[in-house]
């Protein structure tokens, strides 16, 4: 089980991690500034295993991989959204952060609700209800299963 942190439509990667932190030497130094403009306490409050839940087009804008990377570094278990912008989606899978398309969950949970995700079943459980999410295409699931694209490079 993990807590829900809920965000709106068209959350862009500048909101996830702003430009002024991108050239910090490491993701560890950036992560305290995650979602700073939208929820200044996000980084302090989030616990490993919690979820980010969003509406349409999550992660639009810049290709900065720091966006999924800070979420992963804070221990976000998965991002569940009605839809994702393509670069964020690809980056998230590549670094091993599950980005799961789930059309129904957004309208049925509130900030702070406890939910559970089963990647193998392709379901999210919230308030006793089970919601279906889209399973990843096999190609992407295999990248995630290996622990991200870099891990697969080490196998070459």
């Amino acid at each position: 089980m993990g807590k829900v942190y809920k965000f709106h439509n068209d959350v862009d990667t500048d909101q996830i991690i702003a430009s002024q932190y991108l050239l910090y030497p490491t993701v560890e130094e950036m992560k305290a500034h995650t979602f700073e403009s939208l929820d200044a306490d996000f980084a302090a409050n989030i616990k490993p295993g919690d979820f980010v839940v969003a509406a349409e087009n999550f992660g639009c804008g810049s290709s900065r991989e720091q966006a999924p990377a800070v979420l992963k570094a804070l221990g976000v278990k998965a991002v569940l959204a009605k839809s994702f912008a393509r670069i964020f989606y690809r980056n998230a899978i590549n670094i091993g952060l599950p980005a799961i398309v789930c059309k129904d969950i957004y309208d049925h949970v509130e900030q702070g609700d406890e939910i559970e995700l089963s990647m193998t079943e392709g379901t999210v459980t919230a308030g006793g209800q089970v919601y279906t999410c889209t399973k990843l295409p096999a190609h992407l699931q295999s990248i995630l299963d290996q622990g991200g694209l870099i891990a697969s490079l080490n196998e070459l």
């Binding site: 909101q15 430009s19 991108l22 290709s63 991989e65 912008a85 690809r90 590549n94 991200g148 870099i150």
Partner: protein, 414 residues
């Protein structure tokens, strides 16, 4: 069945006779561009590999453009890491040469190529008939090590352009209008292809501006056909020759087709905080500004500077307004210098800066403070994009930005 330009380029890069939207192909990449926004992380990941190696260093182009000159010790350390790695490994490296996409257009991109850039606006290269797409640093590293990557072949939205832009209306107004029409995710995962009789009225500068902004509708790439204008640009920029010149087949399948009459386009602005939040400039005419920015990979080219200089020649920037003029590349800067354009801006009270991303990315010289308003030819107006998280960015054309700098409020130029 026929293929789109996007399908043809992927097929060529994959070495297969046919590619269809929805297929996943392993492709050979023609170039891999990276800038100082993420390369320090790529270097760290590279150094952590069990068997680090570079497939072909001649395919790599590294460009420091986001913070030039550097603004802090932390940034300096990250840029040094990138610079040192490039030197050690013989990677082509530029610094102070301009915004990465403008430099790539001037020196490298050829029609028919498939190019990865670790920057979302890599879709700019479609102006030269190349499939450019933005990726993160992990995808970049995979391409750097293997020379290859995987691509999901995109569906294509086709835009048939007719008519001609009216005086004072620019290609930037056109693409902002299109983004307003289809929305910030209207082209998500898709290619945007531009064709039609109006293409011959659009210069290479216009075309780069149009393709550049397609990612703001979510597009994976943007594409245009190669014509005399393309070939002349290539000839003038190092005599480059196309890898292949493609057009979509008459029986190619498009996800949707739109006809846009350019003569109906009016000057527009994208209001805070979304690029698809479009309104005619005339509706924002009372918005007071603190800063105006002319530059970026979208609108910092010579034609933009000429248009702006025509408007501001002999006039002054409004009191208490900063007008930043930032040519997109060294080539543009030098040409503007020779034409006397930079003098015009300096005499008007503008701040003329060296080629770099500047305030378009909000982490270098020119950022705005709490509650301030920027009118900008940059690429994005997201909350906090140009500085303080409680500031406001209006996107508009070079003409509107310049007229606004003079008036001290958002103003239509013509």
């Amino acid at each position: 069945m026929g293929m789109t330009i996007a399908e043809k380029i992927v097929a060529l890069a994959a070495g297969v006779p046919e590619a269809k939207a929805g297929d996943i192909h392993t492709v050979e990449l023609d170039y891999l561009m990276s800038n100082d926004g993420t390369t320090h992380l790529t270097v760290d990941m590279y150094n952590s590999l069990k068997h680090p190696r570079i497939a072909d260093k001649n395919k790599l182009v590294w460009i420091v453009d986001h913070n030039v000159p550097c603004d802090s010790p932390k940034t300096a350390a990250s840029q040094k890491k990138m610079r040192d790695f490039a030197k050690l490994n013989g990677i082509t490296f530029y610094e102070g040469e301009g915004v990465c996409h403008q430099v790539m257009a001037e020196k490298y991109v050829c029609p028919g190529q498939l190019i990865f850039g670790a920057d979302s606006h890599t879709c700019t290269y479609g102006a030269l008939g190349a499939f450019g797409t933005g990726v993160g640093c992990t995808d970049y590293l995979y391409g750097m090590v293997t020379g290859k990557s995987w691509v999901l072949v995109p569906e294509t939205l086709r835009f048939v352009l007719t008519g001609e832009l009216s005086h004072g209306v620019t290609a930037r107004d056109l693409i902002l209008t299109i983004i307003g029409k289809i929305g910030a995710n209207g082209a998500n995962y898709k290619a945007m292809e531009f064709t039609g009789p109006a293409m011959k009225t659009l210069s290479m500068s216009d075309r780069l501006s149009i393709c550049n902004l397609c990612v703001e509708a979510g597009a994976k790439t943007a594409l245009m056909e190669v014509d005399e204008i393309t070939l002349e640009y290539l000839a003038q920029h190092g005599g480059r020759t196309p890898k292949a010149c493609f057009t979509s087949d008459p029986d190619a399948v498009f996800a949707a087709e739109y006809e846009i009459n350019l003569s109906e386009v009016v000057p527009v602005t994208a209001k805070p905080h979304f690029v698809d939040n479009i309104a005619p400039v005339s509706e924002c005419a009372d918005v007071a500004i603190d800063e105006a920015f002319l530059g970026s990979c979208n609108n910092g080219r010579l034609e933009d500077l000429r248009l702006a200089a025509e408007i501001i020649r002999g006039r002054k920037v409004a009191p208490k307004v900063r007008f930043l003029v930032v040519p997109a590349s060294r080539e543009v800067y030098n040409a503007a210098l020779k034409e006397g354009l930079l003098n015009v801006f300096m005499e008007a009270g503008a701040i003329v800066m060296n080629p770099n991303c500047s305030v378009c990315w909000g982490s270098c010289q020119g950022v705005i403070g709490e509650g301030e308003v920027l009118v900008s030819t940059g690429t994005r107006n997201f909350k906090g994009r140009a500085g303080d998280k409680n500031s406001f960015v209006y996107l508009a054309s070079a003409a509107t930005v310049t007229a606004s700098a003079i008036a001290g409020k958002i103003t239509q130029a013509f």
